[in-house]
């Protein structure tokens, strides 16, 4: 059994002796001292686990002076009182003041269970006090953090009532809004904003606030003590991002404009000459013009790819999401590739099994990825075929996979990991392919990723390559368009 040290503080020798007798039987160390500051010190030195305070130390009817005892150093020990049966007033007041239990005089010898019970109560009391202190400290820290935060933050009840606002939020939205509805913060609305009306979950949204700045808000859920879900929302000032984004967009738009403009004139004059609108041409002149035309076409492609790479890799592009069948995606791909394959005399084969689930994505962008990969296959295949196959990967929630396989030159092992890097080109002595700036696969992988999908490659050098595009399937109802 655990040993508890018990200290009696009082001047009643009879009581002290009875206590000692009762406790020593159970092997509990006991100390006795008078009920004043010096006694408290002795109990401390004794390292008491519990203190028994004789109420006869005080005037009749007065409670145990718990505060003084604590101040004198017995900070954590539970205090029980020893009282005469006729001192009911003092006893009740002591219990109200925080005494954990009481023992009537004359002291009997069945004390032990009582003392252990008192110790347990004391322990619980101390734990509660500790929790309260932790809660108070944490509250102070949280409020400190929230009030020094430059970002606006607020908490709302499930009924959209503002429960708390930090200083930054008050500076932006105004003071005294606590208790009001959160949807008044953003717009002059009479009902909850769509984002909260639609979903009870955490949310993200952007808003231009009354200070004219753009903020990105993120909300998280917190469950309060009644089990209701409150929301805490924090906004980040993204005005500089928006400005940089705008400048970047304008810059790219102007640069692309100025790169395309002279190409249009080159094209036009070459065409005019080739069509004989500027007089008869010799065979050689026509040959040279077609070189100019081809080069200008390539230059145009590189410019478009660079602009596209910039848009895709900097995230400045929006997907036009819709529910799609693989057939309609393949039809766009075939429109783009058929003539290229025919020119090289390569068979382009498409296989689509029945009952494939649909995908949710941007038709043009997905087609761009497949056309890019399959276009490469055509480019690097001298004879044979390029196969585009759709299939289903059932793992987890299921994915649609499009595989493009060719009988081309393959990709050297050491290049396989790098082909998706920007500006990477496989150096090959045997085959020289002049087109391409090493952008297509980097763009394609990013587009696949933006769709929540993946793009990877495998290859047997000299035998052919395979590229696989996996896309999440549409989880909505299959019957809705």
């Amino acid at each position: 059994m655990k040993v508890y040290k018990v200290a009696y503080l009082g001047s009643d020798n009879e009581a002290a002796l009875a206590l000692e007798a009762s406790l020593s039987k159970a092997g509990m160390p006991f100390a006795s001292a008078i009920g004043d500051q010096s006694g408290v010190k002795k109990a401390l030195e004794f390292n008491a686990d519990i203190v028994l305070w004789d109420l006869d130390n005080n005037p009749r009817g007065k409670p145990v002076p718990l505060e003084q005892i604590r101040k004198a150093g017995l900070v954590r020990q539970p205090v029980a009182v020893v009282a005469s049966r006729d001192n009911t007033e003092g006893l009740i007041q002591s219990l109200a003041a925080g005494a954990v239990d009481f023992i009537y005089k004359p002291v009997k010898d069945d004390l032990l269970p009582r003392i252990i019970a008192a110790l347990n109560v004391g322990q619980k009391q101390r734990r509660i006090e500790w929790y309260q202190r932790v809660i108070e400290d944490t509250n102070k820290q949280l409020h400190g953090i929230l009030s020094t935060l430059k970002d606006p933050a607020y908490v709302v009840s499930p009924e959209y009532q503002i429960l708390y606002m930090n200083r930054a939020a008050e500076e932006i939205f105004g003071e005294g809004l606590r208790g009001g509805a959160c949807f008044h913060l953003f717009y002059d609305r009479a009902d909850p904003c769509e984002i909260c009306a639609k979903s009870k979950g955490p949310a993200r949204w952007r808003a231009v606030l009354k200070n004219g700045k753009s903020y990105r808000f993120v909300s998280a859920l917190i469950r309060n003590e009644r089990g209701e879900v409150e929301k805490i929302a924090v906004g980040t000032d993204v005005t500089p991002d928006e400005e940089v984004r705008k400048i970047h967009k304008t810059f790219i738009s102007n640069v692309s404009h100025d790169l395309r403009t002279p190409l249009a004139a080159i094209d036009q004059y070459v065409n005019i000459m080739m069509e004989g609108l500027a007089g008869e041409l010799t065979y050689e002149q026509k040959q040279y013009l077609s070189v100019i035309k081809r080069s200008s076409f390539r230059l145009g492609n590189i410019i478009e790819n660079l602009i596209d790479a910039n848009n895709v890799l900097s995230g400045h592009f929006k997907l036009k999401m819709q529910v799609l069948t693989i057939e309609e995606i393949f039809s766009v791909v075939m429109d783009r590739l058929q003539s290229q394959a025919d020119d090289k005399g390569i068979t382009l084969q498409v296989q689509v099994p029945d009952d494939l689930p649909r995908v949710y994505g941007d038709k043009a962008r997905i087609a761009q990825v497949i056309a890019n990969v399959a276009g490469n296959s055509i480019k690097f295949t001298e004879q044979g075929m390029v196969q585009i196959r759709a299939g289903f990967m059932p793992r987890d929630e299921g994915r649609l996979i499009v595989s493009v396989e060719d009988t081309g030159i393959g990709i050297p092992k050491e290049d396989l990991g790098k082909i998706f890097e920007l500006f990477y080109r496989v150096e090959n002595d045997n085959v020289y392919v002049e087109e391409g700036a090493g952008l297509g696969l980097a763009i394609s992988r990013e587009i696949a990723r933006t769709h929540g999908g993946t793009l990877w490659a495998e290859s047997l050098e000299g035998m052919g390559s395979a590229f696989h595009i996996a896309l999440p399937v549409h989880k909505g109802q299959q019957s809705t368009e």
């Binding site: 404009h257 249009a264 005019i272």
Partner: protein, 125 residues
């Protein structure tokens, strides 16, 4: 200008391109008048009452968007179809062109065959 020929106004600040388009369109049997900025495009259109207007988006003294806005409110040109021919290519601009009542939007450098086919379709010849 010969009788019966459809007249096309080509407005672009790139003079070389206006010249090239004139050669090409005349070879295809159309009459062509040129302009090199927004104000000029407007006055040439008022004076010549073209059957089709080809507008660049970025030009001095009023680009294609403000030009089309003016033309669509003028008695003379409000029913004249307008095609944009520009090196800008973003969805917002295409949508804006559409909203302002454009009959087409071609991005430079453009595909000759598609461009000529669009003109033929609009003019009926």
């Amino acid at each position: 200008m010969e009788e019966g020929k459809k007249l096309i106004l080509v407005a672009d600040d790139d003079r070389d391109l206006v010249t090239a388009l004139s050669i090409r369109l005349r070879a295809a049997g159309y009459g062509v008048v040129g302009a090199h900025d927004g104000d000029e495009a407007y006055s040439v259109a008022q004076e010549n009452k073209p059957d089709l207007i080809i507008l660049d988006v970025r030009m001095p003294s009023g680009g294609g968007f403000s030009s089309i806005d003016r033309m669509k409110h003028s008695l003379t040109t409000r029913n004249t179809p307008v095609i944009f021919l520009t090196a800008f290519d973003d969805n917002e601009m295409r949508e804006e062109a559409n909203r302002l009542g454009a009959a087409g939007y071609f991005r430079k450098p453009f595909n000759d065959a598609e461009f000529m086919a669009a003109i033929k379709k609009i003019l009926g010849v």
